[in-house]
């Protein structure tokens, strides 16, 4: 449904989009994620036919954006970040205008206007003056305008930008419903929004795609593997560490500090080894305080980008290459991302040579 090949967009000396490629199938819902200035809006504007590309090929709904711009425009619904609405118009006038621009008859446009207003939960506001609506309501009307021609492809640029948390939840829910019957590409720098709506995420950074996949694939590709967190009264921590390491599938065990008489361990394994750890604890008589499966989130990946830690560091070719998780425990400490539940605030660099703000504090000397 959307095909982008070697897309480049320059503004003078600035390269906003730097040779990106991706393909989105019919009915897919994809989130464009990246910090401000990553090139998300520029890419969406090119897809919508507003901006011409400096180089590259873009095909939307089977039509080339450059040579068949009108065909593309007939098939898309585009909602820019600054919701474009005539503020002195009534809601239904704005929708009728959009319908007429898309070649609908007055009667058909009026029928569609009623449908989309119901869909965005604004059915009772059709006679309201747009300028008098709240920002959240205007956002919904913007969505209704984009939906009115019943587009095959929906392009949404920061659809929840500037909304309060409640409004965000409402719009997110609406996006989830819309995603059921059309191809949707939405951009955002708000992670929960993308995670909640889009099964697939494309991460842009400095105009390049640094990751493309499902949420879990992305965090794993960038080194954030899931692990088991184990905290218990173990007596001799070195002996406990040795025993844990002997469990099948366990690749590394690292002590993660103490809380009173409890010792914490991070167990990296090929799968979920909680049952084996629990059995070992029962066998050894260790009093367990915590035994949990820790799953990294996309948020950490995003923070890594936002803090300008280039995920492609060391990959001059620029291809979105997954970051390998090294085998040795020491290297693992340097590459790992924080896991859910851990603090993600940048910390002062420790004794390790890499400046990774997400590196957890070194374990206390034993």
């Amino acid at each position: 449904m959307i095909l982008v090949q070697n897309l480049i967009r320059r503004f003078g000396s600035l390269t906003a989009v730097d040779g990106i490629d991706f393909e989105i199938g019919a009915g897919e819902v994809v989130g464009f994620l990246g910090p401000n200035g990553a090139g998300k809006s520029t890419t969406l504007r090119i897809l919508a036919g507003f901006l011409p590309a400096t180089r590259g090929r873009v095909v939307v709904a089977g039509h080339d954006v450059l040579t068949e711009s009108m065909e593309v425009r007939r098939r898309i619904g585009y909602l820019p970040e600054a919701v474009p609405l005539y503020r002195d118009h009534r809601v239904e006038e704005m929708l009728l205008f959009q319908g007429r621009l898309h070649g609908l008859s007055r009667r058909e446009a009026r029928r569609r206007a009623g449908e989309v207003l119901e869909r965005v939960g604004m059915g009772e506001r059709s006679r309201s003056i747009i300028g008098r609506l709240s920002k959240g309501q205007r956002q919904r009307i913007g969505l209704a305008v984009a939906l009115l021609p019943d587009p095959e492809v929906l392009l949404l640029d920061e659809p929840t930008s500037g909304l309060d948390p409640l409004q965000r939840i409402e719009v997110r829910k609406l996006l989830g419903e819309l995603a059921a019957d059309r191809t949707v590409l939405l951009s955002s720098h708000i992670l929960p929004e993308v995670e909640a709506v889009a099964p697939r995420v494309i991460v842009l950074h400095r105009g390049r795609i640094v990751a493309d996949g499902t949420n879990q694939e992305l965090v794993e590709a960038l080194g954030g593997r899931s692990h088991v967190r184990f905290e218990a009264v173990v007596g001799d921590p070195l002996e406990a560490q040795r025993l844990l390491l002997q469990l099948p599938g366990v690749r590394s065990v690292r002590e993660e500090g103490t809380a009173g008489i409890h010792r914490g361990f991070r167990i990296d394994a090929d799968g979920d080894v909680r049952e084996d750890v629990g059995a070992l604890a029962a066998q050894r008589g260790w009093a367990i305080r915590e035994l949990s499966w820790q799953r990294p989130t996309l948020e950490q990946l995003f923070l890594r980008l936002a803090l300008d830690l280039d995920p492609l560091e060391g990959e001059p070719g620029g291809e979105p290459v997954p970051v390998e998780t090294p085998a040795s425990p020491q290297e693992s400490v340097q590459l790992e991302l924080p896991v859910a539940g851990e603090s993600v605030a940048p910390q002062a660099p420790g004794p390790a040579p890499t400046l990774n703000p997400f590196q957890p504090p070194p374990p206390p000397a034993t």
């Binding site: 503004f11 600035l14 906003a16 504007r45 919508a48 036919g49 507003f50 901006l51 011409p52 009108m70 425009r73 007939r74 898309i76 585009y78 820019p80 600054a82 919701v83 474009p84 609405l85 005539y86 503020r87 002195d88 006038e93 205008f97 959009q98 007429r100 621009l101 898309h102 070649g103 305008v145």
Partner: protein, 247 residues
Amino acid sequence: MKGFTIILRRELAGLYFSPVSWFLLAATLLYNGFFFLTMLQASGGEVNLALSAMHQGPLWFLLSFLAPLLTMRMISEEGRSGMLEFLLTAPVTDAAVVLGKLVASTVFLVVAWTSVPLYALLCQFLGAPPDWGQVATQWLGVAFVATLFSGIGLVASAASATPLFAAFLAILANLLLLVLPLATGFVRGPWREGAEWVRDKIDVQAHFQGSFLTGAIDSAHLVFYAAWIGLVVFLAVRLLESKRWAR
């Protein structure tokens, strides 16, 4: 042209539902009424003379200012509000967007000026019938001039980031268009011939007075106006297109 009539209707609605536009209409009515009465008294009650006088100074002064005030927001404000992004990603051509706005502004200006033929009608009822052929050609000429000045206003609006600057640019351009032909009269020596050639190409007033004002429709003057209007429309469309390249 796809989308032209839809853009035109929206722009007309935008103009006629705006309180500012109604203020401008009322001000124009007063302006026309004042000058028509003054001209009528000065001509000793000669309606055709008064009408001709109206289409000299008062018409050009009014359009030089009124057209920029109407067009100043049409592109620059839409660029600021994001509506331009909406229009330029809708299935309508850039030319349809410009022409829709151009014709809407022209219609508003012509309707505002139509109070003058209405005064002529009033004179007819009062027993002083005007030359209706001449009134019709004058009205047609006003439509051409209004289109040209609206086009200049749209060029300024497309070239400016703010409506106020757009109005300033357009008023300046309109006044230059009116004053420059007069300035060529001061050129002496070997440059005089060249200056006269230039004056002939830019003197919109002379082409109006040589044709529409006298009640004659001359194709040369029609082509002159059509060429100027074509040029400003072309410029406005290109400037609108250039918005796609701006960051």
